[in-house]
Every structure is written in structure tokens, then in C-alpha cells.
Symmetry: C2
Subunit: 339 residues, 2 copies
């Protein structure tokens, strides 16, 4: 079946699940619709689709060569025979859709490969939560049979951290000579990486950077195993979740070097995650976060409507604006369900 | 009274309201606490404080010279005898607090002036909504007697647009020679400006840029009056909200030129907003948005807890993770209040 006309979003999702790539494209476009009802229906349909078998996060500072490296990584996974998806997320860009992010032309190598699906997401069309929106897109790609999906983010804000937290394995790209390596580590980069990729490894300082990262991991007083950190200290201890120490690999996206090591590290990490108990704990943890994001997004949208003149909570906004009700009291009433 | 030891946040807010600057500082620090209960209590206390008399948004692309211009604008308001606050927001930075944003040293001129209060906000410490967090900070500054507060944002994503929507008047900074002027206009910059500042006006192309913006405003098919757009077409028509056409001023932050025109334009815009009916409509509109942001942030935090093992909604997350319940159904149950 091919997507054609006025299908419901659920019909598009069903077509996705049969491997219809065009249906996947159209469902993602609906997810980004400015028509909120349409976007909500699409999100609901997307949320019934399965996640990809493997989701790999890729993050790091601007200038680290993430795009070139991603191009290389996609090729490596294609060589293993996998269908590969790419979701590129830039919260600072208002643009969404298609295969262009900002002004970069990316992934030229794979543009014509039908086994590769590339999609960019900016902040527009992701009202109320980029992580929830990215999760929708991941599920559409997973549903359409893309086994390995990369999720790339720019920057290191909270939104980006939340977005990469969707991934099974997170690669943090670092590069010698940016001069703020230590600063980046302070920013919590140690806590979100499963694999460090020191890119442009032919540059002076690459080996020193690798050693710095390894030392920082070794000396860090905090929890540097992402899985254990996500589950929380108490759960990790109670279930004796084993430790993963992120390997630090010297690679070059441009010279296509280090690929075997990257593939091995990612496979090792996936095997680490697949241990039955850890796998169940992480699935539950991720599910809880996804429910929270999605429910919060819908709550915010519905509350926005309810506070408009004529809406169910309009009187609360009126009273606060007139000064007869205090903001915290209005919020208490809303959250306690009192009109 | 001076803030000293173990005051409650409400006591700090009360001290703020008496003009205690140190209490203001300490309350803002609590707003950014990683201890969620402490941050929530601080937010609650901050929300009882009044907004500043005048909040001016300043936004525009990187490289437009916003920092230098802001330094100039602060001086102009100080010369009018006002106490001035600055809230600099960078959603892509994980850093929060103090007076440094990213690697820029800003506002050196005013650092030692006790009539100026400068605060930076990154995404960290603003869990679940930078706009709600910025609103808290605005209220602390307003409460502490800072009459004119600037709120500066970098970038043009949805978060930034939401943050500048807190301002009474929004200045959009443009600069000749960035080469993407038209693109910026497409990005919705026409819709969020009350005043355009063409900075670095001595550069070639400044006059042309001014004329381009004026033409684009004139020809825009959309609503370019921000107040009318925020209220929505129906309300604007029903209440015959008068039109504001954003002036486009040639200025130079570095050479300190155009100041009289900026001061006049901002005063004119404030007078426009002060018309009783419009003022009431906008206050209600802003109050409704603030309630929605704050309630949504609290909803998200509380739901996150409720979904953790042992929480009130834990069974829903378990069932979804085990595949016996679909995500949309779990979300329906949460939003309908069924456990």
C-alpha cells in the first residue's frame, strides 16, 4: 500500500509499520503541522509505533566535525546491512523538516540511498517539547523498519541533553584545539557519554585530549556510567547494575579512520544494555520519561486553551490579572483540579 | 533588614519588596537551585512579587552587537534616573547565575553601579521552562524596585520567542552585512518587534536595510503589530485595538548614537500600551500565559515523580514498559485524573 490521499494518521502509522517510507514521511510532516489537532492526532498515532532497535545519540560542540563524522558512521552501519535513520535536532533553529539543518548541506553521500532516511528538526513544529517530538519521529522511523537511528544534536543545553537521553548509546564528539575541553567536561559531558569520539585525531593534542578525558572519567567524583546515573543511585545499587566505562576512541570522520573501533564500541555497549534486568529497568525508565513529556505537552496545550477567554479556567486568569487572586493559588487550583 | 541566614523564600521575597538587593540575589540563586523543592518554594515566593514597571526585550542574531547596544541602552535609562535590571538568557548555555554569559564579558561599564542589577540565565536551573524561570527573575527584580528591566536573548528559536514575549516592548536588533536579512524576516522577526534597531548604522547598507525592513512591514500579509497579534485577530477586532507600526531606527551601540530616538520610541510604545483597555487586555493575556507556563512546569515535575517506582502513577509506566498498555491510553488516564 502506498500513502496517497486522506488517510488518518493511524492509517499512515499502519502503512509505516508495513515499511511504507512515503507514509513515514507524511506522518512526520503531520507531526510538525501548525494545526495542533492534526499534530496531536499524528503524535498519538506515532506513539503506537515501536522504537528503533538501536538509537545512537551524537552530540558535541560546534566545530567538532559532527556532520562529517555522522556521514562516516551512517556508512559504517549501512555496511553492516542495516537500514539507517538520521534525526538532526537543532533547538536554536526555527526551521523544521526536510534534510537541511541551518545552512549546512549534510549527508550528501547518502542522499540517494533508499536505505537511509534523514530528517531535521528545529524548534518550530515541536511545540511544548522537542524531546517528545523527537521521540515521535524516532518511533515513526522505528515503525518503518529503520533498525539503527542516529539522533544528532547541536549544543549542550538542557533541551539537547533531554533529546540525547532518548538514545540507547550516546557518542560525545570532542576535538583537540577547541581550547575549552576542561570546560566542556565541567558542563556535564562526562555524565552523558557512553562512548567518547576524539575526532580529527591527526591534529596535535588528540592523544593528550584522550588522556585528559580518561583521567577525568577516572577521577570524577560523580557517576560516569550513564545507565546507572539515569536509573538513580538507589536503583543502581539495589539491582547491582554493572558499570560501563566509556571508551575514548581516536577517530577521523574526514579520513574515515577508527570505524572498526566505533562499530565495536557501539556493539559492546548495546550488548551491555541487553542484559535482561538492566534492559527492563532502562525500558521502564525511558517509558516513564516519555509518558511524562507527552502528558506534559498535552497538559500545557490544553491549559493554554482553558485559560483563554471563554475557557474552563478563564476566570482564574481574570482574577489574577485583576489582582484578586495570587498566581500560586491559581496554579494550586488548576493542579488540584478545582475549576 | 539584610538577608543573612535561614530565611524562608517568602521572607526573602518580603525583604526584596523592601528594596533589599542582597535578598533579591539570594532568592534568584534559590530559583536556580538543583534542589527542586527549594526551587519550587522560591518560585512560589517570587510569583507574589510585582513585575517591573517596564520590561524591554532585546533580541537579534549573533554578531548584531547586542551586548554593546545593551550597555548603551542601560546607560540611557540610568540617565533618566531609573534603577535598571538586565536578565540575559541563553537557552543553549548550560550555565546559569552571576553576570557572565558564555565567554562574553558584558556590561563592564555598569558592573560597579548599584543602580544596575545584572543576571544571566542558561538552561540549567530552569528545569521545565525557561520562560517561567525568566518570569520569576523579572518579578524578583520588579519587587526589588528595578523599574526598567532588559531581557536579552540570543538566537531565534521558540524558547527565545517565548522569553521575549515576557517584555512590554521588544527591540529587534539588525545589522547590515550579515547577508541573511530577508531570511531573518521570514523567520518571524517581523512579528515580534515593537522597535527595530539597525545597529552599526555607519556601515554600508544600513539605510538600505532600514528601508527593506520598512517595506517588509508595509507589505507583510500577516499582523505586524505585536500587541494585536498576541491578543489574536478576533479580540483585536472586537476591542478595536489600535495599530502600532514599529519604527526602524538607525543606531550605533559602539559610537553611542541614536539614543534620543530609542528613548523616545520606547516611551511612545509604553504610552501606546498604557491605553486603559489595551493595558487590561494585555495584562490578562500575559497573566494567562504565565499561569500556563508555571502550572505546566509544576505538572511536569510532579508527574515525573508520580511515574517513578512507588509513585502514584508507577503502574502506568510499568504497564506501558511491559507492553500491556499503549502510551496514548496511559496519557489519557493521567490527564483525566484516573490513577
Amino acid at each position: 500500500m502506498s500513502a496517497s490521499g486522506n488517510e488518518t494518521s493511524q492509517q499512515l502509522a499502519d502503512a509505516c509499520a508495513k515499511g511504507d517510507r512515503r507514509a513515514a514521511s507524511r506522518l512526520i510532516t503531520r507531526l510538525e503541522s501548525t494545526d495542533r489537532a492534526e499534530a496531536l492526532e499524528a503524535s498519538r498515532a506515532a506513539s503506537t509505533l515501536p522504537l528503533p532497535k538501536q538509537t545512537i545519540g551524537l552530540t558535541g560542540p560546534p566545530g567538532a566535525g559532527k556532520s562529517t563524522l555522522l556521514d562516516y558512521l551512517v556508512g559504517l552501519q549501512r555496511a553492516l546491512g542495516k537500514k539507517v535513520g538520521v534525526v538532526a535536532v537543532d533547538p536554536s533553529s526555527p526551521f523544521t523538516g526536510g534534510a537541511l539543518l541551518g545552512d549546512r548541506i549534510r549527508m550528501a553521500t547518502h542522499r540517494s540511498d533508499s536505505g537511509v532516511f534523514i530528517r531535521s528538526m528545529g524548534s518550530r513544529g515541536a511545540s511544548g517539547g522537542l524531546a517528545a517530538a523527537a521521540s515521535d519521529t524516532l518511533r515513526v522511523l522505528g515503525g518503518a523498519g529503520f533498525e539503527c537511528v542516529f539522533i544528532e544534536t547541536v549544543g549542550a543545553g538542557q533541551t539537547e541533553t533531554e533529546v540525547v537521553s532518548l538514545a540507547d548509546s550516546v557518542c560525545v564528539v570532542q576535538v583537540p584545539g577547541l581550547g575549552d575541553d576542561i570546560q566542556l567536561m565541567k558542563m556535564g559531558i562526562l555524565e552523558i557519554a557512553d562512548v567518547f569520539l576524539v575526532n580529527k585525531a591527526d591534529r596535535p593534542g588528540a592523544l593528550e585530549l584522550k588522556e585528559q578525558i580518561e583521567l577525568a572519567l577516572h577521577e570524577s567524583p560523580g557517576e560516569t556510567c550513564r545507565a546507572r546515573r539515569m536509573l538513580g543511585a538507589a536503583v543502581a545499587r539495589a539491582h547491582r547494575v554493572p558499570m560501563w566505562t566509556p571508551p575514548v576512541l581516536l577517530v577521523s570522520g574526514l579520513d574515515r579512520k577508527g570505524g572498526d573501533e566505533i562499530v565495536k564500541a557501539l556493539a559492546d555497549h548495546l550488548a551491555y544494555l541487553a542484559a535482561p534486568e538492566l534492559s527492563a529497568l532502562l525500558r521502564r525508565n525511558r517509558t516513564a520519561r516519555e509518558i511524562a513529556w507527552r502528558a506534559t505537552r498535552r497538559f500545557g496545550e490544553e491549559l493554554g486553551h482553558a485559560l483563554q477567554p471563554g475557557g474552563a479556567h478563564a476566570a482564574l486568569a481574570d482574577a489574577c490579572a485583576e489582582g484578586t487572586l495570587k498566581l500560586p493559588d491559581a496554579i494550586d487550583r488548576i493542579l488540584e483540579g478545582r475549576p
